[in-house]
């Protein structure tokens, strides 16, 4: 692990940990919390960017390659913007500093997770990413968030337990934890396949893949939308990168056998997600089910793991997904805060009331639907190309059908926002600094458009990674 990258993580985590303490000791005024954590974010983003220089230490646990740098930087930016929006939406709450601190520590965990090259560090990083979110899900402290918190906690515990069981099987067979050593020592064996199934099931919980997707929408809908933005966007993308490392670096012996299972899970996950999203009345539930569907799209790329372009698909979709899903949930959070809008009926005419926010929300929705020139389009192109290249044309066709299908509900929200007459008369909260809420969302929109046009960084990183894993 590179020293700079480690310093970035440590600064992020310790700023997050100290923020609530500083707040309790010195009673800092609202804006100071956001400022302190912004400083932490900027420093660690800078350190991540320069992390290819500098000494490296203990490389068998964490690696700092192109993928880590790229996705790490994108995750940091998305998390920073999330922090700003969450701060403006919840600034009156006394617990805002705890919330922001947890967000920062969870982001540090996500940064560790995308660089983990060892099952020990993978589990610890995943726990570091998940543990603060247990607190964050409970943040609203009402009945619904209690339900969501309990569901989330037990599913998270089950996921990590399942994963640990698989890992302990691998350790029992080889006596090794690091991916590089496992690759050399593993052999084709039913027990290895069993361990793989358990590890993938653990990831399935995190990613809300099909048989384990049931908790996702309940939790994303039950908690406050700012937290749902973290859970659906940042933590899922990081888990995708970790799964990519496991599949390509640790278990290539058996992952070829898993291609068809991945394909099946991907097909069912996206179909279920899209079908259920269509049936929803609440905008947060639509977004939650669309997050399930997007997990399915990324799994298409995993199904095509024999071709190099699958890595581009995974990376691109994770990169785009960090911004589009997070931003969509944040826009929902802002609408909820300012107008109290939850259901489809509440969204009638909101586009006319909030032209700027409405336009940004539209950008995120179109990116989720896969409309050019946003990043969501190009990532889907790569994912489906990978499926066709790997000889799974049926899967690519199903994916195309699904994304055509998904346009229906995104367009439906757009139609409610722009073509209907407003129903909500006056905003419930009217913050004077509304323009500050728009800035973070606009930054995310810019990132989405830039990623959609400038293919260079992600494609280069994936080429390097593909040659590293020998594809």
């Amino acid at each position: 692990m590179n020293v700079n990258f480690l310093a970035a993580i440590m600064i992020l985590a310790l700023t997050g940990a100290f923020l609530p303490v500083i707040n309790r000791l010195f009673r800092i005024s609202g804006i100071m919390g956001a400022l302190i954590s912004s400083v932490g974010y900027v420093i660690s983003a800078f350190l991540v960017l320069i992390s290819d220089s500098g000494r490296s230490l203990l490389n068998s646990f964490f690696t700092t390659d192109d993928v880590t740098r790229l996705i790490g930087f994108l995750i940091l930016v998305a998390s920073w913007m999330t922090m700003l929006v969450v701060y403006w939406v919840t600034q009156r709450d006394k617990f805002v500093n705890e919330l922001i601190g947890s967000l920062m520590i969870a982001t540090a965990g996500a940064l560790l997770l995308i660089s983990a090259e060892n099952f020990v560090s993978l589990v610890i990083a995943m726990e570091l990413m998940t543990m603060p979110t247990y607190l964050m899900v409970l943040f609203a402290f009402d009945e619904r968030s209690f339900e969501a918190g309990v569901k989330y906690f037990f599913n998270g515990a089950l996921a990590v337990g399942t994963m640990l069981f698989g890992i302990s099987l691998l350790y029992g067979m080889t006596g090794e934890f690091s991916f590089a050593a496992l690759v050399q020592n593993l052999f084709k064996d039913p027990l290895v396949a069993l361990a793989g199934v358990f590890i993938l099931a653990g990831f399935g919980f995190k990613l809300t893949a099909f048989p384990f997707h049931f908790w996702g929408p309940d939790v994303y809908d039950g908690t406050c939308p700012g937290v749902a933005a973290l859970l659906t966007g940042i933590s899922k993308s990081a888990a995708f990168i970790a799964l990519m490392r496991v599949v390509y670096e640790a278990l290539p012996v058996i992952s070829g056998k898993f291609a068809f299972i991945f394909a099946l899970i991907a097909a069912v996950t996206m179909t279920v997600g899209n079908l259920l999203a269509l049936a929803q009345k609440r905008v947060s539930r639509i977004l939650a089910y669309s997050s399930v569907a997007h997990a399915g799209y990324t799994l298409i790329a995993f199904a095509a793991l024999s071709v190099p372009v699958s890595i581009t698909g995974i990376l691109y979709h994770s990169a785009a997904y960090v911004f589009m899903k997070t931003a969509a949930f944040l826009s929902f959070a802002v609408f909820l805060y300012v107008w109290g809008a939850r259901t489809m009926d509440d969204y009638k005419g909101l586009g006319k009331r909030e032209p700027l926010l409405g336009a940004l929300f539209l950008i995120f929705l179109f990116s989720l639907a896969g409309v050019p020139p946003m990043a969501g389009f190009i990532s889907k192109v790569f994912v489906f190309t990978a499926a066709v290249d790997a000889g799974m044309t049926w899967l690519a066709l199903l994916g195309l059908l699904n994304s055509a299908f998904s346009v229906a509900y995104y367009i439906w929200i757009a139609k409610q926002m722009y073509l209907e007459e407003p129903v909500i008369e006056s905003p419930i909260n009217n913050p004077f600094d509304k323009k500050f809420i728009v800035i973070p969302l606009a930054v995310m929109a810019v990132f989405l458009v830039v990623l959609g046009i400038w293919l260079g960084p992600v494609v280069d990183a994936s080429t390097v990674y593909a040659s590293k894993v020998g594809l």
């Binding site: 940990a17 230490l57 601190g101 560090s121 543990m131 607190l135």
Partner: protein, 159 residues
């Protein structure tokens, strides 16, 4: 000597575990569970797994039991005592535990006599933990810190 102690503590642990689930008084059940955990720790000592035994006593006998008893304090114990155990859930539990026992016995009979007891003391663990696994070790401290902040923050939310 070793064998005698192993079986002695094993039997004590099993009997106390049985007591802890059958006892009408939940506090008595909790104390029986504590005894069960500690004698299980002694079982680990007799087979040479010292560190695991110590962890069993510190974590289970110390922390988990305290949490368990405090959780009991916040509940309405009388209400729980009146609730009837459903036949179906008892049957499912019995089925699962018998299945598990058969599996364990089958596997154990296969490897019986082949396994040499390996010493897993705390001293052997120290070098890898503090040198090879240094980075994960320090990250664990952040993990515990988050858990502390989370526990305090959730429990004292009302202020």
């Amino acid at each position: 000597m070793k064998e005698i102690l192993f079986y002695l503590f094993g039997v004590i642990s099993a009997v106390l575990a049985l007591l802890s689930v059958t006892s009408k008084n939940v506090i008595k059940g909790g104390v029986a569970l504590l005894g069960s955990f500690i004698s299980l720790g002694a079982v680990y000592f007799t087979v040479g797994a010292e560190f695991v035994g110590i962890i069993q006593v510190i974590v289970y006998g110390g922390a988990i039991i305290v949490l368990y008893l405090f959780a009991l304090l916040t509940m309405d114990v009388k209400k729980i005592a009146e609730e009837k155990v459903r036949g179906s859930s008892a049957a499912a539990g019995a089925f699962l535990s018998i299945l598990l026992m058969i599996l364990l016995l089958l596997e154990a009979s296969k490897i019986a006599g082949k396994v040499k007891p390996a010493v897993s003391g705390a001293k052997e663990l120290a070098l890898p933990l503090f040198f090879k696994y240094l980075l994960p070790f320090e990250i664990v401290s952040i993990l515990l810190l988050v858990a502390t902040i989370g526990a305090v923050a959730i429990a004292r939310r009302e202020e």
